[in-house]
């Protein structure tokens, strides 16, 4: 038996040698417009940064190909009491520096996520305390019952306590301190790949982690990531075969990539909803020719705006089919999305004009529209289309399209009357959209409800939804809240933009609606 095993091992090694000698190492090369901002998993809660860190770091739970939650570094979890979540940790997992993964690391990582300078604090906003029960058991105590805690932590990555202490990275990077942090450019996780080199803004290389605890679904040896900011150059790099995948493919280049041999564009709706917001709070708009009153306080005006905008035209002409028109604030893939409610209305400029006349604006009025020009797919062109559509109903929109830094600086302090914004619920759950965008603003809730939409019942439902464990009851509440919001035209949703990933046709990967590229599911044939 022993001899046979020895012989088998020899065979495996031989195969390995043949593979190494015969076939070249499988390298996956990909490019996106902007580099991940840091390797520190607590530095920035941003999709691409967290997704790429996922090559090295893992969380207690993770999502599968259907965006359902499954065990990762925790093997199971339970709720011994309404405010306690108990996690059983996976035994035998090692960090890439060889140290074992234990409850101490979990406690440390939760604490680090809550520390000054951490940007992932919102993920654990409901967490009161984290306690080690034994080496492989951890209790997470929440301030109030939190039935959706699991959905909030798939990107709360686990770091090694010993490694952070040794390298002076116990606290996340804080630019206010004016000091560099070791974890910004180095990484030590439990994940499928090891960070081999990182040249910020130039090139980042990962190699396979042979000691990974899970069975690899990929066949890669190496991953090379390059940021390519310029759209044309990024497309050229895919067409010339210098990279295996780019994201995104600009809408105007989708056809071209599709018609090139051995290249493909993968498209799927993204979780981000693009919508327009209106100031319904002020007595008088800051940016309009209507004085002494706020036209957006009148439901008929909001309905007129809703009717004047032709979502299908935007989809056809500007998004070139790559969008999902909607009047709902969340899209497919979000927990709580109900397709039965997702029925966009037909555009009707005449009806819009009539409603405006009834509201006392037969000649329309003027209003400024704050729009980014480098944030969402075709953002400025969408705003231009909205401008001309509203013009047909008599509304004179003064379009103010700016770079994201300027646009955000203007709208976030609520210095806006009418604006375009996009939102992806970070927790994959409708509650996140409700609590960030739809409840009456009072910190820390309603941060991005920039127009001050307010409905008592929606506020009430939002808080009930947060703690309701029963799925059917919870869904009914979500439906109720979204229906109220739609009938009152609290915001004007336009569409969910589509993801467009360009690949060489020998690449096999899974495209998820959350725009997260799971590197450990990629195969090259």
């Amino acid at each position: 038996m022993m001899r046979m095993r020895g012989a088998l091992a020899g065979l495996v090694v031989a195969c390995g040698l043949v593979a190494a000698g015969g076939a070249p190492a499988k390298t996956f090369r990909y490019a996106t417009p902007a580099d991940m901002r840091s390797m520190d998993p607590m530095a920035l809660q941003e999709t691409f940064t967290l997704a790429t860190q996922g090559a090295v770091y893992e969380a207690l739970v993770r999502t599968n190909a259907k965006l359902e939650f499954e065990p990762s570094l925790a093997v199971s979890w339970s709720q011994p009491s309404p405010t306690v979540w108990r996690f059983k940790l996976r035994p035998g997992v090692k960090f890439q520096d060889g140290a074992p993964f234990t409850a101490d690391d979990v406690v440390f990582s939760f604490k680090r996520a809550a520390a000054e300078g951490s940007d992932v604090k919102p993920m654990i906003a409901t967490v009161e305390d984290v306690k080690k029960v034994d080496d492989l058991t951890v209790d997470v105590v929440t301030k109030a019952p939190d039935p959706i805690l699991i959905s909030e932590i798939p990107f709360l990555y686990m770091m090694s306590k010993a490694w952070c202490e040794k390298n002076g990275a116990v606290d996340p990077v804080d630019v206010r301190k004016g000091k560099e942090n070791f974890a910004t450019t180095h990484a030590n996780g439990t994940g499928p790949f090891i960070l081999k080199s990182r040249e910020v803004g130039v090139r980042t290389t990962f190699v396979v982690n042979p000691a990974w605890w899970d069975k690899p679904q990929h066949n890669l040896d190496e991953i090379v990531y390059t940021p390519i900011q310029n759209d044309s150059t990024r497309v050229a790099a895919l067409l010339s075969g210098e990279v295996d995948m780019i994201e995104p493919v600009p809408a105007q280049d989708i056809d071209r990539v599709e018609h090139t041999a051995h290249r493909k564009v993968l498209q799927a709706p993204e979780l981000r909803t693009i919508f327009l917001g209106m100031d319904q709070e002020r007595a008088e708009l800051t940016d309009s020719d209507v004085k002494g009153k706020n036209p957006f306080k009148d439901l008929r005006v909001r309905q007129a705006f809703q009717l004047a905008i032709d979502r299908e035209l935007i989809q056809r002409q500007i998004m070139r089919g790559a969008s999902h028109p909607t009047t709902l604030m969340v899209g497919p893939g979000i927990n709580g999305y109900n397709p039965a409610l997702d029925k966009p209305n037909k555009a009707d400029a005449a009806k819009a004009k009539q409603l405006l006349a009834e509201a006392g604006y037969p000649e329309g009025f003027s209003v400024g529209l704050d729009c980014p020009n480098d944030r969402y797919v075709n953002d400025e062109r969408i705003c231009q289309a909205v401008t001309s559509m509203l013009a047909k109903a008599g509304i004179k929109v003064k379009l103010n399209a700016q770079t994201r830094a300027q646009w955000f600086a203007k709208i976030l302090p609520r210095n806006t009357s009418f604006y375009l914004l996009g939102w992806t619920p970070a927790t994959y759950d409708a509650h996140n959209t409700l609590v960030s965008i739809m409840v009456t603003p009072h910190s820390p809730e309603g941060t991005f409800n920039l127009g001050g939409y307010s409905n008592k019942r929606v506020d009430e439902l939002t808080h009930l939804i947060q703690v309701e464990p029963d799925k059917a009851k919870r869904q009914a509440m979500i439906d109720e809240a979204f229906t109220i919001h739609r009938d009152e035209v609290g915001h004007i949703p336009l569409h969910q933009q589509a993801l467009a990933w360009g690949i060489q046709d020998n690449v096999e990967l899974v495209q998820l609606a959350d725009d997260v590229l799971k590197l450990h599911w990629i195969k090259i044939h």
Partner: protein, 333 residues
């Protein structure tokens, strides 16, 4: 001479201060860096606190004074976007830009001057007409278009007889201390071709046209006629007498252009994803990364001052009249 150089260096400090001052007075309008520094779920209070702690709410004279205070100690702060010291980030990007700019400038000089001399001497030959037509394209096409065209021809279309060149990046680089160079690897040299041609094309055509018109001018002067009358060979007349006398304006323009090549490598670097300072600056602008922008602008101002100084020194080398004036002046003193 030393006094002259020292005076210039002192002037450079004034120029850099002025640039920093103008830059800081503009930073109010670049937008809010906080937006990119935190995720979407961060509350308004935390955003405000961060803005307060970073001193972004201070009036710009205060921010400017703080920047200068730290800068004189060699501390340019930490990048809002990257969380790394600005000095470190710039030093990392500097070699890429300098290698690209110098290669482009050498290309422009090495091809532009001979082309200018040829077209100046042989006004009506068909080759001259060809050169001038080509140079017209170089002047009139915008840089990014030239870059994209080159990428199409040499990277995307798989044309026979043409080499395949990388469409982005710097290839493999070799580290020599803190300096990284692409000159020592095949992929590094290959990656350098398209960006340097793109960046140098405009300067090349400018130099061609400048040298040509100067040559035409000089060839009509009396001393060229005398040189010919003395029976000097064409080579000596053309290069020893004529070309040398065209060089003062050429040096001025080339020098100033080298400054703009470094400063405006931004577009070329963006098109080719060349990891230099220009690309860094563009990224910093869209992020409102004030520490990086401030340090970059000050550094570029410094480059311009140094290049101007070098140009002035070169005048003495090529133009004996300047040296003579000096000698006379000091003789009287």
């Amino acid at each position: 001479m030393i006094a002259f150089v020292l005076r210039r260096l002192v002037q450079s400090v004034v120029v850099m201060l002025a640039v920093a001052f103008v830059a800081f007075s503009l930073f109010t309008y670049v937008g809010d860096p906080i937006v990119g520094m935190v995720g979407q779920d961060t509350s308004i209070e935390q955003r405000d606190k961060l803005r307060q702690d970073l001193g972004l709410n201070d009036p710009f004279p205060v921010q400017f004074a703080r920047f200068v205070g730290h800068a004189v100690q060699g501390d340019f702060g930490i990048s809002y976007r990257l969380g790394q010291p600005v000095g470190h980030v710039i030093l990392e990007r500097l070699p890429a830009t300098l290698e690209l700019s110098l290669t482009a400038a050498l290309l422009a000089l090495g091809i532009g001057v001979p082309m200018g001399v040829y077209t100046g001497l042989h006004r009506d030959s068909w080759l001259s007409r060809l050169f001038l037509t080509v140079s017209l394209i170089g002047v009139s096409l915008p840089t990014f278009l030239i870059g994209i065209l080159l990428i199409m021809v040499f990277s995307v279309w798989n044309l026979p007889f043409l080499p395949r060149l990388p469409s982005f990046g710097r290839g493999d680089v070799v580290a020599l201390g803190w300096w990284t160079t692409g000159f020592l690897t095949a992929s590094g040299l290959k990656a350098l071709i398209m960006p340097s041609v793109t960046l140098g094309l405009f300067q090349m055509t400018l130099i061609t046209r400048l040298v040509r018109s100067e040559m035409l001018e000089v060839m009509r002067t009396d001393y060229i006629k005398f040189a010919r009358a003395r029976g000097l060979p064409n080579r000596v007349v053309h290069f020893g007498h004529a070309l040398k006398n065209t060089l003062v304006p050429v040096i001025t323009i080339t020098g100033l252009q080298l400054g703009s090549v470094i400063a405006f490598a931004i577009i070329t670097e963006t098109v080719f994803q060349w990891p230099g300072m220009g690309l860094m600056f563009i990224q910093a602008v869209s992020f409102a990364d004030i520490p990086i922008m401030a340090a970059y602008l000050v550094l570029i101002a410094f480059f311009f001052v140094v290049i101007n100084l070098v140009v002035d020194l070169l005048y003495y080398v090529v133009d004996p009249r300047l040296r003579a004036d000096r000698a006379v002046a000091s003789g009287h003193a």
